[in-house]
């Protein structure tokens, strides 16, 4: 992927999320507060850094954007008003809109269907599938 394609992707992500990645000064508050920061690769601050460096494709190919549960702690604590949850949502949208689902409603476990609240299914399918 050329650097031109990459910078186009960064613009798309910024537009979809309504966030400006250059606003971030890499203090790391978001990653420090993230409840799944240690399981998220890359964690919020490093994900934003990738976009600042124009490496959007790397972020889109990462696991990290799918581990975020949009709890919004990162954006709440950001001193620069950057909301990483919105950036991750935009990244996921770019992938999902290319028809690449991450969860499949057809293979839900029967026991889960009986136990897990509807709220979780609806949220999961809307967040992670086309």
């Amino acid at each position: 992927m050329s650097s031109q394609d990459n910078s186009q992707l960064v613009s798309q992500i910024e537009e979809l999320s309504g966030q400006r990645v250059s606003d971030c000064y890499q203090c790391g508050c978001c990653t420090a507060g993230c409840p799944v920061g240690e399981l998220m690769d890359p964690p919020p601050s490093r994900a934003i850094r990738l976009l600042q460096l124009g490496r959007a494709q790397e972020l889109l190919a990462s696991e990290g954007i799918w581990v975020c549960a949009s709890c919004l702690v990162c954006g709440t604590r950001c001193p620069r008003n950057v909301d990483y949850a919105k950036i991750a949502e935009a990244c996921r949208a770019l992938i999902l809109r290319a028809k690449r689902s991450q969860v499949d409603p057809d293979v839900v476990d029967d026991q889960d269907l009986q136990d897990v609240p509807q709220q979780a299914f609806i949220a999961s399918f809307r967040k992670f599938s086309v």
Partner: protein, 285 residues
């Protein structure tokens, strides 16, 4: 006082007890919930993508329906509260006028007036803790309760304006009013892992167990919440681990208990982790 009420999908099935105790306890507390005559799912999550207007249609239709019933819409489910309130805010946002028009044309339900989305806990607080205290017939007798708010009640703070997003206290105040001892702990507003329980269960379990363990460290004997997914995650993560179990209640169950609802009305059979032996041991049943 009668309020238009939006139960949402989960309160009609897996979280029936949250709903039923909420309605019955409201009657005891001095107000009435009047369910919207026709409602649809709010969408369960709020979509933040700037171009995704379709995701706004569901919650906006609910708001329009509510506006035909009254000025305020009461919710109990944390997810419904979050989604409806955010959709409502966006609908009125500056710069959103054109999109608003497109959504309203699609929804095709008239807005009779502006609607305010409020949570049941806010209604209780408005009634006043003293008024509720007077209606307590069974004190919690010093039960050490951790009030767990999770994400959806408090964030994003600039839209929800529910309470202090780092240290919410409304539910704690309610528990104290009912005779309980609110437990201060660190993860009141930390994520339970949410819907990751479906496709990344280990991540969700780690989040949930961290919340439960922290509450226990601070002395909690029980946890209360207002979110069906938090309730499920906190209990099922403990059951999967299989060791020390802390019961997790809906706050409406504890409210109902204190206001004198019958045990059969409290819906404990729908709690995965049977709380009846615990409540008996504490002399509350």
């Amino acid at each position: 006082m009668k309020y238009p009420y939006y139960p949402g999908c989960t309160l009609y099935s897996k979280a029936r007890n949250l709903d039923r105790c909420g309605r019955l306890a409201a009657a005891r507390a001095g107000f009435e919930l009047e369910e919207l005559p026709s409602w649809n799912c709010c969408g369960a999550i709020y979509n933040t993508n700037t171009d995704d207007l379709a995701a706004q249609v569901g919650p906006v239709r609910v708001l329009a329906k509510a506006s035909q019933q009254g000025r305020r819409l009461v919710t109990l489910c944390a997810a419904c509260y979050n989604v409806l309130k955010r959709a409502n805010e966006r609908l009125h946002a500056t710069g959103f006028e054109q999109d608003r028009q497109r959504i309203l044309e699609f929804v095709d339900e008239p807005f009779e007036q502006d609607v305010e989305v409020v949570h049941y806990l806010e209604v209780l607080k408005e009634l006043g803790w003293d008024a509720i205290r007077q209606r307590v017939v069974r004190s919690l007798n010093g039960l050490k309760v951790a009030s767990y708010y999770g994400c959806l009640m408090v964030r994003p703070r600039e839209v929800l304006k529910f309470d202090d997003p780092e240290n919410p206290v409304v539910m704690d105040e309610l528990m104290a009013t009912l005779g309980g001892e609110p437990v201060r702990f660190d993860f009141k507003a930390e994520c339970c892992g949410g819907y990751l329980v479906i496709n990344r269960r280990a991540v969700a379990d780690a989040c949930s167990l961290r919340v439960v363990e922290n509450a226990r460290t601070w002395g909690a004997e029980a946890i209360v919440t207002t979110c069906p997914l938090c309730q499920y995650n906190l209990e099922s993560a403990q059951l999967r681990r299989g060791t020390v179990l802390t019961p997790v209640f809906y706050f409406t169950q504890i409210l109902g208990l204190a206001l004198g609802l019958e045990p059969a009305e409290l819906g404990f059979e729908d709690n995965k982790l049977d709380p009846v032996p615990f409540l008996k041991e504490k002399g509350l049943l």
